[in-house]
């Protein structure tokens, strides 16, 4: 960009205006802010990483504003991408203030899925210089034929909270969008804002190719406190609610002006909100609930309440992990283990915004072993052992979606598109065959559908691909985005107010008149119609709490490593570990506590069955893969039907009849040799790929959620992704999306690289083998886990025989 035409004296004069504005607020630009402005001036890309509340926004927007003051222009100049729709409003206000300070005639608009039609219409007329939007809305803008024109004057893009996007498919979608814009505008500058990550270089690379890393803000001190069980207090060995700690949490909350209570799942947040309400001594409206399934309007109201200090306490999930700062928040409570060091740091950082104040977080264990996780997390934080967030590579479902977007946004040539797409890190290693396979799928639906006249998404005319059908265009625009809700129903009062969304599977179990807890309210289902569950207020709750898919977060690799060391250290050191000492004594008594370099295996026969426990401490994901492999290997040793369950510490396998096992056999069963083949065989046999396919099918446009407010007429189009998966497997086993499903299972769901590292470690370790009479404290939480899946070396014939036999046995009793 024309740095040559921007004399540095002129730049300094314009910069002075910004500095003067800082001064009116009694502030001075921090060195990292100035560094970012200058880097922008020099035409560089970059990534700014600093804790929240240190002025990252102004660091990023300063350069573009000074630039604009020097070279005024109308039309869209700067695109500001934010991961959360709820952030858009606040960010737009914040940015407007800076725009006003520079006396720029800029119009600042936001466009998100929540935008009203007035805003959208204004935008369609092209009437803004700064647009605040989400990755999905950007993709939508790119899907219109005038996309290129609309962005013709764009000088730069800032991606806010890049750490929230980098590791998921939304980040992949954004990378593709950025590649599109850079292809049109080679001079475009790309900047990102991020919290501290374990892999900042990679984060910069994924966002901008190359550029500068700018770190800023003084490191804020973080204090981690723990609600320790008192001497003699009975504390559960397993569980994930932790409601027995209610009095301690209430004390902590009432001791501060305003608090955030973080739960790890939405159901847990609902239950904690209900529990706190039942003992809340103050006026009820001062306690609120915030999670991703609650209607945006209600969420905004809660955020507004926090901002103006009207709320004493908000129970939240990761929906409040990021976003604007609430200066009134003095206290943060974490229910259960935070499961990742970075998350703990981020949540703690939501408190103590006054300069010089440390961030404080109170961790509330929901069962005893979580004490060790908290101690491990503190140690990891002290030693700066933070998790990386790896960008996803080569997602074919997102690629399919993006290709359709490109086709709608003016059409494309296959060779050009391949070059453009492989210029992004996410697809840098995408083989041409795979690209062509996706293209072929979009054209024909895959080999099973080849030349089927009724199915054509992409049409090829000469060298260019485009979309012919208005219906396909409409459907695509409606389903753009990678994070879409899975068969959700709106929850709405009979009088009309919307409360949010719940999953269809939950509502389908309810009958009219049944009661449930949602959005912090007791509700009674009146009827379900047109994808909406109509409810009315109920005096109390008899029924359940919705469960949302997505489930529990796995323990991060960094925290797993710390935990292994912390446990091996035994009951020494921190207060948490001292409190854990009695439990560790029981473990030592029944079995043993693994030293670093030990792999503990236990076998227990209970009335319910025969259980094998293995404790690699490698996190839920790797354990799931390991459990499948181990069950598969056991089934090869002795044919049978093996079910498994996992948690963050280990896995259990259960069968009607286990083979003879000892330390030596376990060593052989856990050997890394042949892992890849075995995992493929076991994954093929299990439901994992089928489950993973749900999201892929949605992202790639294989299933369609329906037009808004038109659910009824499309009833005959409802197909479950599971059904599609089965049919594709039979008729089109080479379909690129099946390949994607298997790869996602390996990479993400089973964390293959970590699984392999784990088995290599086991191979070098000493195997401790214990046959225990009773479940050990480590085994107990696994025993109460629900079975996740299993390996069955049988066919339908033997299943039928077994079912008939067991039904007969049941009848004889």
């Amino acid at each position: 960009m024309p740095t040559s035409s921007t004399t540095s004296a002129a730049w300094r004069r314009a910069e002075a205006r910004l500095v003067a504005w800082f001064a009116t607020q009694g502030r001075r630009p921090a060195p990292f802010q100035r560094a970012a402005w200058r880097a922008w001036r020099d035409g560089q890309n970059g990534l700014i990483h600093a804790p929240t509340g240190t002025g990252k926004t102004l660091a990023a927007v300063g350069g573009p504003l000074i630039d604009a003051a020097l070279r005024p222009q109308t039309g869209l100049q700067l695109l500001w991408i934010t991961p959360l729709r709820s952030l858009a409003t606040d960010t737009a206000q914040h940015l407007s203030a800076a725009v006003d300070a520079m006396e720029l005639p800029w119009r600042v608009l936001r466009r998100t899925g929540d935008s009203g039609s007035a805003e959208r219409a204004k935008l369609r007329r092209g009437a803004c210089e700064l647009l605040v939007t989400t990755p999905e809305s950007l993709a939508l803008l790119l899907s219109y034929p005038d996309g290129r024109e609309r962005f013709a004057r764009l000088r730069g893009i800032v991606v806010d909270e890049w750490h929230e996007l980098i590791g998921n498919k939304r980040g992949t979608l954004l990378q593709l969008g950025l590649a599109r814009l850079r292809h049109w505008l080679p001079e475009l500058r790309t900047w990102g804002l991020s919290a501290t990550l374990g892999n900042l270089d990679e984060a910069l690379h994924a966002l901008a190719g190359d550029g500068v890393l700018i770190g800023g803000g003084a490191a804020k001190k973080t204090l981690i406190e723990t609600a320790l069980p008192e001497a003699g207090e009975r504390f559960p060995w397993a569980g994930h609610l932790g409601l027995s700690q209610l009095p301690r949490v209430l004390d902590a909350v009432l001791g501060a002006r305003s608090s955030l209570v973080f739960a790890n799942t939405r159901s847990q947040a609902e239950l904690w909100h209900e529990a706190l309400s039942s003992v809340w001594p103050e006026s009820p409206p001062t306690l609120a609930l915030h999670h991703g399934s609650i209607d945006p309007k209600l969420r905004f109201a809660t955020e507004e309440g926090l901002r103006v200090g009207a709320l004493r306490c908000v129970v939240a999930t990761s929906s409040l992990d990021l976003g604007v700062d609430f200066s009134s928040v003095e206290r943060v409570v974490q229910i259960g283990s935070p499961k990742s060091v970075a998350r703990l740091l981020q949540r703690a950082g939501r408190s103590g915004h006054q300069p010089g104040m440390p961030s404080r977080i109170l961790c509330v264990p929901t069962h005893l072993l979580e004490l060790a996780e908290i101690a491990a997390a503190r140690h990891a934080l002290e030693t700066g052992h933070l998790e990386p967030r790896r960008p996803m590579r080569g997602c074919l479902d997102v690629l399919a979606q993006h290709l359709l977007t490109m086709a709608l946004g003016g059409g494309f040539d296959a060779d050009d598109a391949y070059r453009e797409i492989t210029s992004s890190l996410a697809y840098a290693q995408l083989p041409r065959e795979r690209f062509d396979a996706v293209l072929f799928y979009l054209q024909t639906g895959g080999s099973a559908l080849a030349s089927y006249p009724e199915y054509q998404k992409l049409v090829r005319t000469g060298d260019r691909y485009h979309v012919d059908s208005g219906r396909i265009a409409r459907m695509h625009r409606l389903s753009i985005g990678t994070i879409t809700s899975d068969g959700t129903l709106a929850v709405r009062y009979m009088k009309g107010a919307r409360l949010g969304t719940v999953e269809e599977s939950f509502v389908s179990r309810l009958r009219p008149g049944d009661r449930f807890l949602f959005a912090g309210r007791h509700l009674e289902l009146v009827r379900v119609r047109d994808m909406t569950a109509y409810v009315r207020a109920a005096p109390n709750r008899r029924g359940g709490v919705p469960r949302w898919m997505g489930g529990r977060m796995p323990l991060s690799g960094e925290l797993s490593d710390e935990l292994r060391d912390t446990l091996a250290g035994g009951g020494t050191g921190s207060a948490e570990m001292r409190a854990l000492r009695p439990l560790l004594a029981v473990q030592e008594n029944h079995s043993s506590i693994p030293e670093p370099g030990d792999t503990l295996c236990e076998r227990t026969r209970t009335r319910e069955g025969d259980y094998l426990f293995v404790f690699p401490f490698a996190g839920r994901l790797a354990h799931e893969g390991l459990a499948a492999v181990l069950a598969y290997r056991l089934a090869r040793l002795q044919p049978g039907d093996y079910g498994y369950a996992v948690n963050d510490y280990g896995l259990t396998i259960t069968a009607a009849r286990m083979p003879v096992l000892d330390a030596e056999t376990m060593r052989r069963l856990l050997h890394p040799w042949g892992l890849r083949a075995d995992i493929r065989a076991s994954v093929n046999l299990s439901e994992l790929a089928r489950r993973q396919f749900r999201e892929i099918a949605r992202v790639a446009g294989l299933v369609f959620n329906g037009y808004p407010a038109q659910g009824k007429t499309l009833r005959q189009l409802q197909a479950s992704s599971g059904l599609l998966f089965d049919v594709l497997r039979r008729h089109d086993p080479d379909h690129p999306l099946l390949w994607q499903a298997e790869r996602e299972v390996l990479d993400q769901q089973l964390d293959y690289s970590r699984l392999r590292a784990c088995l290599l470690r086991v191979a070098r370790s000493r195997v401790l083998w214990h046959e225990t009479k009773r479940l050990s404290p480590l085994a107990f939480p696994l025993w109460v886990e629900r079975l996740r899946g299993g390996i069955a070396m049988d066919d339908w014939k033997s299943r039928v025989e077994r079912m008939l036999a067991s039904l007969e046995a049941g009848a004889d009793e």
Partner: protein, 213 residues
């Protein structure tokens, strides 16, 4: 693959391919075939592979070969949606009909059948219910005074425990006055049916039938 039982005093044979045979009348019954469902999806831009119609026709041929019925009675929803001139499944179904000239094929019109002129396939369309004592053949599983109702429409299914696993399978459900057949079509979902006193449930697996108690 088969299971014999008495319904309303008549002996009938259930088949694991989700069909019911009534020997006294040499009548084969299936419900909810949903021909052309895949095509409806594909036309809407949803990539369901073709092959569903062939599979269903193949299974029908297998049942015809097994039972040699005089009549094939479809208890509603033979087709899923409307068709266009280019819909390949229509030609396939017509050819299939032509291969069995000796069989009287009838359809009790279901809610989906209004989308398509089934008579044009050479299949006789009956009104909403048909009395063939002691049964009333219908699409909707409703009680009738005229006899024991045999119907479809709901795509019944049941969950069976098998060790640590559960299988969700299509099922025949026989209540006191109404019996419901599982959906015959490949691309059909399931509606869960719970065991109740007086209710007989027989689940269909690819390898045989399992009567629940």
């Amino acid at each position: 693959m088969t299971h014999d039982m008495a319904i309303a005093g008549e002996r009938v044979t259930l088949h694991a391919q989700r069909a019911l045979f009534w020997p006294a009348r040499r009548m084969l019954m299936v419900a909810d075939v949903h021909f052309g469902k895949g095509a409806v999806f594909r036309r809407a831009g949803i990539a369901v592979p073709s092959g569903d119609t062939e599979d269903d026709i193949e299974r029908l041929d297998g049942l015809i070969a097994t039972f040699s019925p005089d009549t094939l009675m479809v208890l509603g929803d033979l087709v899923h949606g409307d068709a266009t001139e280019r819909s390949a499944w229509v030609a396939r179904v017509r050819a299939w009909r032509a291969r069995h000239p000796a069989i009287d094929i009838q359809l009790i019109a279901g809610n989906h059948d209004r989308h398509f002129d089934v008579a044009s396939l050479g299949i006789a369309v009956r009104p909403q219910r048909l009395r063939v004592a002691p049964f009333v053949l219908a699409h909707h599983p409703e009680r009738h005074d005229a006899g024991y109702t045999l119907a479809g429409h709901v795509h019944p299914g049941a969950t069976v425990r098998d060790g640590w696993r559960k299988h969700r399978l299509p099922a025949f459900v026989f209540d006191r006055d109404v019996g419901t057949l599982p959906a015959f079509g490949t691309l059909t979902g399931l509606h869960d049916v719970k065991p109740e006193p007086g209710r007989r449930i027989v689940v269909a697996t690819p390898a045989g039938l399992v009567p629940l108690r």
